[in-house]
């Protein structure tokens, strides 16, 4: 009986130790898994903070560049942009993209000083993507910042991506042109059309920049979608037909083109949209009445906005997330 009691004690002790160890191990696993989850939350929050920092840096970059009030800035900013840098969802040629990295890609033109990147970011696998629709909304830039935490940081390799859109002073809210569209007899007194009556607060420099952006991005009269804004400095006779009812154009002959006499428009060239001669010399031209459609300049701006400075688009912040 006593012998059996001893064996029972031994087995009980072994069983107790086994159960206690098992419980301890399970508890440790549980605590460690909880700690790891908590750590991952911390790393994710750190990555998100870093991506927000990079996004804010990119917003400041665009803000400081466009605060120069010189539209040559736009060309310098987007100098190395191309449609090929756009993500797969934005392959249409109207999308202009610039992938700003800390390496050789996505450099700005000489007029733009690049800002320093935030610390703790692995610059080889982080980037900022500026993208805009040069045809429908050249004044609205979507900025996407994607980062990866650098080696040596807690949570190295953690990634985060955020995006926000900003308005840039590339155009002005659309105002209906104040024009008398009735054809004048050839003998009628010539009165040059003032710029602001035709284009509202949008400046010549802004339209020139939009035209340059569309040209740089490969938009032409034959592309799909087609180019909509043409800024012409050449005094040569214009012989190309442009625009359709569904896609009207704006054709502007600059004061450079009109230095001596504004260019002629060949009789076989049909322009659907708006033609404007930026010169008093325009009156020397027998300008035919073209179909008047100003839709090519009808860019969407919120009502009442001051379009002269860089502003964030409300509600556009998005955690693109991983």
């Amino acid at each position: 009986m006593n012998q059996h009691s001893g064996m029972a004690s031994l087995w009980s002790a072994i069983c107790l130790v086994f159960i206690t160890s098992l419980l301890g191990w399970v508890t440790l696993r549980s605590v460690m898994s909880d700690a790891r989850r908590s750590q991952h939350h911390l790393f994710a929050a750190q990555a998100l903070a870093s991506s927000e920092s990079l996004l804010e840096t990119a917003i400041a970059q665009i803000d400081s560049a466009y605060s120069e009030k010189d539209m040559a800035t736009d060309t310098a900013f987007w100098l190395n942009s191309s449609n090929s840098q756009c993500p797969a969802t934005l392959t249409s040629p109207q999308w202009q993209c610039l992938k700003w990295t800390a390496s050789d890609l996505g450099k700005f033109g000489g007029a733009i000083t690049a800002l320093t990147w935030p610390e703790a970011i692995d610059v080889s696998s982080s980037f900022v993507l500026f993208s805009r629709d040069v045809r429908s909304a050249p004044h609205k830039v979507k900025i996407t910042a994607q980062i990866s935490l650098q080696a040596g940081e807690a949570g190295a390799g953690s990634r985060a991506s955020v995006q926000q859109s900003v308005y840039i002073p590339m155009s002005a809210p659309w105002t209906a042109p104040l024009l008398d569209l009735t054809p004048r007899p050839p003998s009628a007194e010539c009165i040059p059309v003032e710029w602001h009556k035709q284009f509202g607060h949008t400046t010549p420099a802004q339209l020139k920049a939009i035209s340059a952006a569309q040209l740089q991005n490969g938009l032409t009269s034959m592309s799909q979608p087609s180019r909509t804004v043409y800024w012409i400095d050449s005094p040569l006779t214009w012989s190309q037909s442009l625009g359709t009812q569904s896609a009207p154009v704006v054709l502007i002959f600059s004061d450079i083109a009109c230095t001596v006499q504004c260019p002629q428009i060949a009789s076989h060239a049909a322009i659907t949209g708006m033609v404007y001669f930026q010169s008093a010399n325009a009156c020397q031209n027998p300008v035919a009445l073209y179909t008047f459609k100003s839709d090519a300049l009808h860019f969407e701006w919120p009502i009442g906005i001051d379009a002269s400075k860089v502003q964030r688009v409300s509600g556009s912040w998005k955690n693109a997330g991983f």
């Binding site: 419980l23 908590s38 803000d63 000083t113 308005y167 502003q311």
Partner: protein, 147 residues
């Protein structure tokens, strides 16, 4: 009778030996279990401190990005230090520093950087000082909210 006595002695001896072994195994096992529990508690406490430190840093970073009376008062000086403690008696030292990042724009404060550091001492034997660093940037570019 003699045989029975010796058989009883062997049986009793064996039980004592078994009991000693059983107690030793139990003691070793319990020691291990206690050590595992202690390790779990220490890991838990460390992570809890990191969570608290991260919360303190994030709270300050959020406060920096909003404009209200309380937050504005907190950032009147570009750098500061504050001491906080939790119910476990761990003292957290939070310090921050606001600097301007140079841009080509005319506004020198267009882009600012906030560096936050939260320090605290471990409550284990080592009494090491832990530190959590947090950094965030903010551009002054306004957000258009309507008429």
């Amino acid at each position: 009778m003699t045989f029975k006595h010796s058989q009883l002695q062997v049986a009793l001896g064996f039980t004592v030996l078994e009991s000693v072994f059983a107690s030793a195994i139990l003691a070793i096992g319990l020691t291990g279990a206690i050590q595992i529990s202690q390790a779990s508690m220490a890991a838990n406490q460390t992570q809890r401190s990191f969570d608290l430190a991260s919360g303190l840093a994030q709270d300050l970073a959020e406060c920096w990005q909003v404009s209200n009376t309380f937050c504005n008062a907190q950032f009147q000086n570009s750098q500061n230090t504050s001491a906080l403690s939790n119910e476990a008696g761990i003292q957290f030292q939070r310090s921050w520093n606001v600097t301007a990042v140079t841009t080509q724009g005319s506004d020198p404060y267009l882009l600012q950087s906030l560096k936050i550091s939260v320090k605290w001492s471990s409550q284990d034997m080592t009494n090491d000082t832990n530190e959590l660093s947090w950094q965030i940037r903010r551009a002054k570019t306004p957000s258009w909210v309507g008429l």
